[in-house]
Amino acid sequence: MTKPRTLYQKIWDDHVVHQRDDGTALIWIDRHLIHEVTTPQAFEALRLAGRAVRRPDLTLAVPDHNVPTNHRFEPIADPESAAQVAALAANCADFGIEHIEINAAAQGIVHVIGPEQGFTLPGVTLVCGDSHTATHGAFGALAFGIGTSEVEHVFATQTLLLKQSASMEVRVTGELGFGVTPKDVALAICGQIGTGGGTGHVIEYTGPVIEAMSMEGRMTLCNMAIEAGARAGLVAPDAKTYAYVAGRPRAPKGADMDAALAYWATLKTDPGARYDRVVIIDGSAIAPLVSWGTSPEDVVAITGNVPAPADFADPSKAAAAARALDYMGLVPGTAMADVEVQNIFIGSCTNSRIEDLRAAAAVVAGRKVAANVKQALVVPGSGLVKAQAEAEGLDRIFIDAGFDWRAPGCSMCLGMNPDKVPAGERCASTSNRNFVGRQGPGARTHLLSPAMAAAAAVTGRLTDVRDLMR
């Protein structure tokens, strides 16, 4: 009998091109997604070395990070953003790579369009020059972010030289409570294991909460594996995964699909396989969460208060908390639900899929954006999500309430395009990073779920969405 293996181990073993004596292995890459920010230097280097892209048929390009989310059919005003977007188009044409143009119906955030197009599949190795590539792990794909030199390496060889990571099981037990979403689970995990907690590991999420989760929810969860320090997050593929993939434009069809399904069914972690580390989280105990600080581990239940530096036993953590509170302009002991917000951002690769927009719209319906909120954006993750939402009338709900309904892109998640949070103002944001200056210089980010962001929009302060849902 062969040794029981984890899902991660099986995908790894199936992709080893060459095992080296020093413990590293040359790993085959099945899927390469690219965008405009982390590729120009890689293309430049290919040109200098006279190298070609080995497998354009495994490579798909889309501009997302700096595309404007309004006035889309006019030229991009910012010359540097315009140059990057133009460079992507030109490089793809030169190297024979399929490029989803900025105004194509299928354009969107790279981590939204991969699954949507059926480009992301169970059991593949998938990389992208972006840390949130972990998102695709929701399909049982080994998906991780790479730097530009690695992008160049994949272009030239369709492989990467890697060392296997340790494995970590994060088992979420019980059942999520009323008003608690996958985003809250993701934040709870960051809070429990810390932003360095998964360093050197690939996480596999297991347990009844994950099994019950939709594909959208699993994507939200895996998206934030990187925020817990892990290179990748994985969920074993199951009937939901297959149903999501089937019929997508680039998904296998006919006999290929049958063969793929048979292979995917073998990927599940074997009974008795050992993980290097196991973390158990009581899903029933998770409340809707908000972040108070400048790291995704700085989270507290919406019913809780802003912590004090003295609450942290570790002196360096206490010092970091003091700095974060100062940046965030928060006073210890303040009820989180008393914190006013001026900006709302519903979007990003974490929470911009149809299910996210439905959850937010359900809270917004029949209500208005509060008077103190200056900017409330809904940025669908892709053109297809946008069209679906419009077909369901969600756009009307948002627009009638006073939201701005935008075109797809990364937008205010990182403020490379004109969508920014002004210095000193707060933003209730469904994105994944509350780093200093992430949403614009001096911007103060509170991470939360789409339903919670919608609740904050209509009350003008951080709000327990459960109070609006009853």
Partner: protein
């Protein structure tokens, strides 16, 4: 990749923990199509303070940075090591580094040295006045005061840093193995190939 053996120089005793890539280089500086010139955006927010540690006259073009735990967490942007390199850094010493950053730094010939916090504290103290030496061959950090701290490094990375190897060239030497993998893939998993349309 530039070769690295031994380096003695001024170290910037920065010391902060969980320094994320948005701190190292904010997103607004990423709109570039080349690797050069990113130093102007390095630590941009911290450097708004005229008394910041990086622009202190003693630290201009210093080759060594000393930081706290989990350095380089956050995004995969290789602009982070490019920006650090453009500021003059060739070595970063910290208790630990985020995974993707660590790969990116290595690919740009930047040495990351992980040492326990108490040794970092000692180096921070020395760095205020004296040079620090990093000897990659012998895997040791030394000071003029007889401090001698050994560090671990992946043997492959070490040999690449010392030899200044072109990693893509190394992989291309495995061309036959890659080609036979591709053949097996086409036979065993026919649904993998042809996922994207080849542009004209």
């Amino acid at each position: 990749m530039q070769a690295f053996t031994t380096l003695t120089g001024i170290a910037v005793p920065f010391g902060a923990e969980n320094v994320d890539t948005d701190v190292i280089i904010p997103a607004r500086f990423l709109k570039t199509v080349t690797r050069k010139g990113l130093g102007k955006g390095a630590f941009a927010v911290l450097r708004e303070d005229p008394d910041n540690i990086f622009d202190a006259p003693r630290h201009r073009q210093a080759p060594i940075l000393i930081a706290g735990d989990n350095f380089g967490c956050g995004s995969s942007r290789e602009h982070a090591p490019w920006a650090l390199a453009d500021l003059g850094f060739k070595v970063v010493i910290a208790p630990s580094f985020a995974d993707i950053f660590s790969g990116n730094a290595f690919k740009n010939g930047m040495l990351l040295v992980a040492l326990p916090q108490d040794q970092i504290d000692r180096l921070m103290e020395v760095a205020a006045t004296d040079d620090i030496t990093i000897d990659l061959e012998n895997q040791v950090v030394t000071t003029p005061f007889q401090d001698r701290f050994s560090f671990e490094i992946d043997p492959f990375r070490k040999s690449c840093l010392i030899g200044g190897v072109d990693e893509i060239g190394l992989t291309e030497a495995q061309g036959a193995a890659i080609a036979s993998f591709e053949d097996r893939l086409a036979a065993d998993k026919p649904w993998i190939g042809g996922a994207a349309k080849r542009a004209a």
